[in-house]
Amino acid sequence: MKAAVLVFPGSNCDRDLSVSFERAGFDVDMVWHKETDLPRGVDIVGVPGGFSYGDYLRSGAIAARSPIIGALRAHVTKGGYAIGICNGFQVLTETGLLPGVLMRNAGLKFICKPAALDVATTASAFTERFDADTPVTIPVAHHDGNYVVTDDVLAELQDQDRIAFRYHEDLNGSVDRIAGVLSKNRKVLGMMPHPERAADPALGLSDGTALFNSIASVGVSA
């Protein structure tokens, strides 16, 4: 199994994500944003957290127009898997691969803390190893995590069971407490919380492990 982690100049969770992929059994290639192709045989592309291009404009807006995004788009169009975490989620919404936008947190402040999440669906390659009835704790660290979609799209997300995670309690003003969403084909996940920061028992949090194990167990190339 092979994962590619995109690296923008301001990415700062790229290493963390690659460590989590490796822990779950993936071979990982780091792919520089100026590349135009993904390595051969990539099963899943990870878009990591950080501040891709400084995010002085809209978070993720410039990254969504960088050279590697063409390859990501092609990978997804062919039915490949992708996960965007935090800034990566912002990038995926800016590319249009996921619906919605991430606005400044309702409290207008950066929030870094462990957040209780409800697993809203286990019907995806990313969440099948979770127990739907047990809230998990995964840290958040973001300034722009307030998820906003139109009512129509929200209804679609709800009807199609595409909400992957919800904050157990309102955290940043997100509509329907959405913390993570799936693409229509359920192969692209964007989420604000950082499962890669909760995938190592030595750090006291390991609820994120289930996510990486889920992806690994379905054999993402399937």
Binding site: N12, C13, Y56
Partner: protein, 719 residues
């Protein structure tokens, strides 16, 4: 461009005394040019030259088998075994933060991060020690929110976890807040980069962001007359760009791997001037700069402006000429400027060219090594009057006075704005004693703490100085870490006042004594003087940042108190209430002497704790607020009530030193008592965890009520 003539006013505006100017004339045997004057002022100001403090800093212990590099470089370096080293330093950004809190604090963080990665270390942890005026002061809220956002804005984007720090409030900081930023990085001990240039005719390379007029003459330029000589008044506070800093970090680390870097120095205070002079001086070489090649953000910049600009995210490097193409390619990859702006010279000369004109031609070594040094007159701080009887108070009311004050309330309002977990190696985030970060890819961990109790230092500089180090030592021991070394950030008022200088001298002596006794040498630091507004000095605030090593998870103490656990008190005391948090918060009194620090007891008790981690569920040191606050904080963290047997004010709130509170089970308590008796360590069983109330003797209150107060008071006061 015509340079202005040097008038008496202009000389004074550069911060020169008449004698210092005479010294310049004696060195040059002629009058300096305007640019030369700027260069001298940059090198000789207090911030760069340490002219008031040098004499005393030399007395500090800076050596030990663990020390790879002590003070004098960009940061201190300490061996952590396995060929690895931790590189760290703390530095103030007080004045800029008061003027422009967001950018002042942000660039403070940026500056200290650069100090660390200049040496080849990847930053892995940051802390911030912040002191603000009283919460009611009209400026305080704005400063708190601006500084905290600035710290977070920079560190979060750069991608370093902020794992600790302090926030305090006191009227003495009303006109002068303190922002002390700490950073630590990890390097291979044999791959550290220093600033000393070597080789003649080697290219001097400018790296990073472009130079603008921001921060020109930051410290030394501030007079109305002077404004007439410069086209436009510019803010002296720099503007930070963490995105550029992040790229600079990656590009520098990549570059260092190629072997292209002979020496490297970040551009901090007095930017190009200070970095070029330092590299030349340390290498015993001269430097020629051609300013025409300096990447510039603005047009029409003069030599004076370029030499004194404090634009951020810049580095100067001496390059191996054989690797130029490779080096350039790395900087192009990261979209950063890379420009050869000069070369090293064999002779002792600092030659600055601009537009084919000589703008400065100075004997380089005279700029730093012959900078003035003063033995400022000082008077010993008079002994504090003994404490008159403390008023009676219900112990629960006493606790409420503490946890309801922003000084001792839970500070998640602050630390939740900092990314404490990026890099996915944070073992203990802020909030419970020292912050702990794992050394990536190993079992080892590093613990970080920053401490000082300014009230103590004012009452008794010597004991207060000792106490700052001792508290740092305890915070490290309380998580099981072996204290390794310290960095000091000495914030004081005007050193030309003998009583302020007396505080400084007393504190240095105390810090030195404690660092020696506890084997925590000072490996880096920074001095910030003249922290006064309208003649009102700040409380003397020598912040001590300290680093400890935890070999493996077996040595780590990071649990919580468990239901039924015994509350064990290590160390003894007499119930010292002088200068205590209780007096200050409950009665508005700051009298009496500071508690005395017995360094032998500190060493013995700290060692005892580290030798017995296996039987300890959790531990904390006793400091401000004494036994009562420590027990409450443990109870709050565990969500468990606590009962202490005593209800005596002095026993609960006394701030005697060398003490720890431990939570452990019944069998473990017994083992601890035996071990303590063998080691001659005082130990006592003082209470029990459990239930849902906090009870001191007969007085009690629901934990939930107290926790609600503890968790809301900070935001209530300044949020």
């Amino acid at each position: 461009m015509q340079e202005p003539e040097l008038t008496e006013d202009l000389i004074a505006a550069h911060g020169f005394t008449a004698e210092e100017y005479q010294e310049v004339l004696r060195i040059l045997e002629r009058e300096p040019s305007f640019t030369e004057m700027g260069i001298f002022s940059a090198m000789w100001n207090e911030h760069c030259s340490y002219k008031s403090s040098k004499k005393w800093l030399r007395t500090l212990p800076t050596d030990g088998p663990q020390v790879i590099c002590g003070p004098g470089e960009n940061a201190g370096i300490v061996d952590i075994g396995d060929g690895q080293a931790v590189v760290f330093k703390m530095e103030s950004h007080n004045h800029p933060s008061y003027i422009e809190p967001y950018q002042g604090a942000a660039t403070g963080v940026g500056g200290i991060l650069r100090d660390v990665f200049t040496m080849g270390a990847r930053p892995i942890a940051a802390m911030n020690a912040l002191s603000f005026g009283e919460p009611e002061h009209p400026k305080t809220k704005r400063l708190v929110s601006g500084v905290v956002e600035g710290v977070g804005g920079y560190g979060n984007a750069f991608g370093v976890p902020t794992v600790g720090g302090e926030v305090r409030f006191h009227a003495a900081y009303n006109g002068n807040c303190l922002v002390n930023a700490f950073a630590a990085g990890l390097a291979d001990a044999d791959k550290i980069f220093y600033s000393a240039a070597s080789g003649v005719g080697m290219p001097v390379v400018y790296l990073g962001a472009k130079t603008g007029r921001d921060g020109v003459g930051g410290a030394t330029m501030a007079s109305a007359e002077f404004d007439d000589t410069i086209e436009e008044k510019r803010p002296t506070v720099q503007v930070g760009d963490p995105f550029t800093e992040k790229r600079l970090l990656e590009a520098c680390l990549e570059l260092m791997k190629t072997g292209a870097v002979i020496s490297i120095q970040d551009m901090g205070a007095a930017g190009l001037t200070c970095s070029a002079v330092e590299m030349g001086d340390k290498g015993g070489l001269g430097v020629r700069l051609n300013l025409d090649h300096v990447p510039q953000r603005e047009t029409g910049m003069t030599a004076y402006e370029m030499m004194l600009s404090e634009s951020q995210e810049r580095m100067l490097m001496v390059l191996d000429p054989a690797k130029e193409a490779e080096a350039k390619a790395i900087f192009e990859k990261w979209d950063l400027d890379f420009a050869i702006v000069g070369e090293t010279l064999a002779e002792d000369r600092f030659l600055v060219m601009h537009g084919n004109e000589v703008k400065a031609d100075l004997p380089l070594s005279k700029l730093s090594s012959t900078a003035p040094e003063y033995d400022r007159p000082w008077v010993e701080t008079p002994a504090a009057a003994p404490l008159t009887a403390a008023p009676a108070i219900d112990p629960i009311d006493g606790l409420k006075a503490l946890i309801g004050s922003p000084n001792y309330a839970r500070k998640h309002w602050v630390w939740e704005q900092y990314d404490s977990q990026v890099m996915a190696d944070t073992v203990q985030a802020p909030g419970l004693g020292a912050g702990i970060v794992r050394v990536h890819g190993t079992e080892k961990m590093l613990a970080f703490t920053s401490d000082v109790t300014p009230r103590y230092v004012r009452a008794n500089p010597f004991e207060g100085g000792k106490q700052a180090v001792a508290e740092a030592y305890r915070n490290l021991c309380a998580v099981g870490a072996k204290p390794l070394a310290t960095t000091d950030n000495l914030n004081f008022g005007n050193p030309e006042k003998p009583e302020i200088m007396g505080q400084f001298v007393g504190a240095i002596k105390g810090i030195g004594a404690a660092c020696t006794a506890l084997d925590m040498p000072i490996v880096s630091g920074n001095v910030s003087l003249y922290n006064e507004t309208d003649g009102q000095p700040i409380l003397p605030t020598p912040t001590i940042g300290a680093v400890g090593l935890i070999d493996s998870s077996d040595q780590l103490i990071d649990g919580l108190a468990q239901d039924g656990d015994f509350v064990m008190l290590i160390g003894d005391g007499v119930g010292h209430l002088g200068q205590s948090a209780l007096l200050a918060e409950a009665f508005g009194r700051e009298d009496g002497d500071a508690p005395a620090v017995d360094l032998d007891s500190e060493l013995r008790n700290g060692t005892f704790l580290r030798d017995n981690v296996a039987v300890i569920h959790t531990a904390t040191d006793l400091s401000d607020g004494g036994l009562a606050l420590a027990a409450f904080e443990m109870a709050d963290a565990a969500g468990l009530g606590v009962t202490l047997d005593t209800s005596e004010t002095a026993a609960l709130f006394g701030e005697d030193q060398a003490r720890y509170l431990i939570a452990c089970g019944f069998d473990q308590a017994e083992a601890l008592m035996v071990a303590a008796a063998q080691s001659g360590v005082p130990i006592a069983h003082v209470g029990r965890f459990g239930g849902d109330t906090v009870q001191f003797g007969e007085a009690s209150a629901p934990l939930a009520t107290l926790s609600a107060l503890y968790r809301s008071a900070f935001a209530e006061a300044v949020g």
